[in-house]
Symmetry: C2
Amino acid sequence: MAVGDVTMPQMHVVQGVKIGSAEAYVRYPNRRDLVVFEFAEGTNVAGVFTQNAFCAAPVHICKAHLAENNPRYLVINTGNANAGTGPTGMQNAKTTCTSLAELTHVSASEILPFSTGVIGEQLPMDRLLKGLQPALDTLNSNAWVDAAKGIMTTDTLPKGASEQFELDGVTYTMTGISKGAGMIRPNMATMLGFIATDVPISRPLVQQLLKTSVEQSFNRITIDGDTSTNDSCIFAATGQAGGVEIASEDDSRYAVVLEVLSCVMKRLAQLIVRDGEGATKFMTVAVEGGANTQECCDIAYSIAHSPLVKTAFFASDPNWGRILAAIGYAGVPNLDVEKIQVWLDNVQICKDGGAAADYTEEAGAKVMAQSEITIRVDLGRGQAKDTVYTCDLSYDYVKINADYRS
Amino acid sequence: MAVGDVTMPQMHVVQGVKIGSAEAYVRYPNRRDLVVFEFAEGTNVAGVFTQNAFCAAPVHICKAHLAENNPRYLVINTGNANAGTGPTGMQNAKTTCTSLAELTHVSASEILPFSTGVIGEQLPMDRLLKGLQPALDTLNSNAWVDAAKGIMTTDTLPKGASEQFELDGVTYTMTGISKGAGMIRPNMATMLGFIATDVPISRPLVQQLLKTSVEQSFNRITIDGDTSTNDSCIFAATGQAGGVEIASEDDSRYAVVLEVLSCVMKRLAQLIVRDGEGATKFMTVAVEGGANTQECCDIAYSIAHSPLVKTAFFASDPNWGRILAAIGYAGVPNLDVEKIQVWLDNVQICKDGGAAADYTEEAGAKVMAQSEITIRVDLGRGQAKDTVYTCDLSYDYVKINADYRS
């Protein structure tokens, strides 16, 4: 059961983007598991990828192709991650690109491949390749919801965000989808995220917008601390809604686009946490008063990854000692515990490193009964702050991950 | 249910050590929850403690008293950790020492206090102090099993190890107990461990023996990655079995004592993992071929902490892709995945970074069905190696930690 508002909004059409999908039976029959994006000529595309040393074959290919060309097509399969698959896996990712390139009359380096699912098994290439033409046959501009469904693995719901906004009298659209519910501690990117806009933006700025937005969105969520081998996030600007290309940060429209993109990406990232495997609570861990951003993040992640904190939240138990312990072992040097304040929403549980005098279990229990809770920590030693989003650890997390392959 | 052989051995008497216990009703009625150790005059004592910045009040007092004096008494309560308790908590730990000092006619600085249990609540001082005399009244040399029971929290069984050995014709004893089942990723020490021998050893060497032994025992186990606020491990050498004091590493008896101590401490540490909260499997994660010990440990802990690896082991699922992913995100720089080999016991699952050609699911499943499994990783880039012990993540881990305070 996902936590809070997870409704799919109206997914506005992005001019210059068409999406097709097919049932290729990569792993399971009778589901759309192969998705193709087509971008209009002239679209500028950027990507960020996992930093896992064991990154999947398609991630290697994506990086190489992005360095060479501006992609015209994305091809995404679910059910199999094509990771830990050695030279055969690399060849399969390449073959997927060359096969789609033949069908679409572009160069193979204009195609980016993505895979998500079980690690360590080879792709069923026969079935996958047979699905390419059927996917192309369904290409249309109004298929974002189908795409969101087509890339799901253990997700319980498709994830989308869409905004419309005006710049110099022109109405533009920013629409995106994401997937992921476990093996989530993105590092440079998410599980999978695909966002497109029809604003005209130069390629270097497309990259810069993506890098900036990913930091405070996909790079600030964690479910289980497991950084995936396949995390990839793509941002495409088709320019098909017209207007002059944004080619400089000084263009006043840049800040507006950044804000809309950040908003869409934060929503897509938070949707992944809200749909976290077995999640019953959505937790915002906000650390302020740090000497630098890194230590704020270290402490926020220490809290967000602690199995003891996560199980206490699952139990709605205001066991704030576990939060203190997680702060204490985050490895931040010279932490003065007597300057530390901790709140659950607006209830102060820890004052100057000890129990807050006016704290009551009743007040704590009331906050813990909510499905959305903010843990706020003030380190009292500087101006830096940062925020991480996570969920609790429930029976169902264990159940889902103990059953996943069966 | 604890994993494997967890039987309490015959706990040999250590000459010069007496143990008493009482039911003080610190948290629960009708259980021994207060334990007192008495060491003969001349005993040399050393301690190692948690590195959690939020370390508990008794840890502060222990460090101060050890710097001042050689302890004659240890006083340990379970049910309440006296951590996150501010100045009142410090005062309570001190009062415990002064009260016991009055009853035993020693200086307060000759007493070390220990607490374990719930964090963030004040000790019930009335009841605790009233338990001191009854505990002293039961002091006797043959009470190690009572002590092991008296320090349990969520442990399902008391943990002990005991060895007898001969040096220059004298028979000596090394006996110890430990406790802990959750919030376990010791850093410098364990949850609680108390080991004593009747060998005569100089105080500096007692400290050195403890520091050396703790590294490969209590500092190499993890259940949930949560470093406790209270981890403490004490080693005492009473010298009461006679013989000349060991005062130099060059004394040939030093190596023998180190070996016996390491053996006892490794057993006590592994017992904590075998009794890990909800554990159904005991996992040895051995990383070799590293450029240095640190990177071997980083990768071993990354595997040992991964919720996805731990749930796969709970499910007896040879989902080795999750092991590769955990190796990949351990943050080891310039890891060449094509040099990496991974085995489950003697079954090679990953060869040169990809699936081993002759690996079969059947072979993997056969190993995974066992209750004790070694994950062996060869990084292929050096001679360093290290080993970490952990357990799987089951429904019961969540249940125990969601219910702990209720």
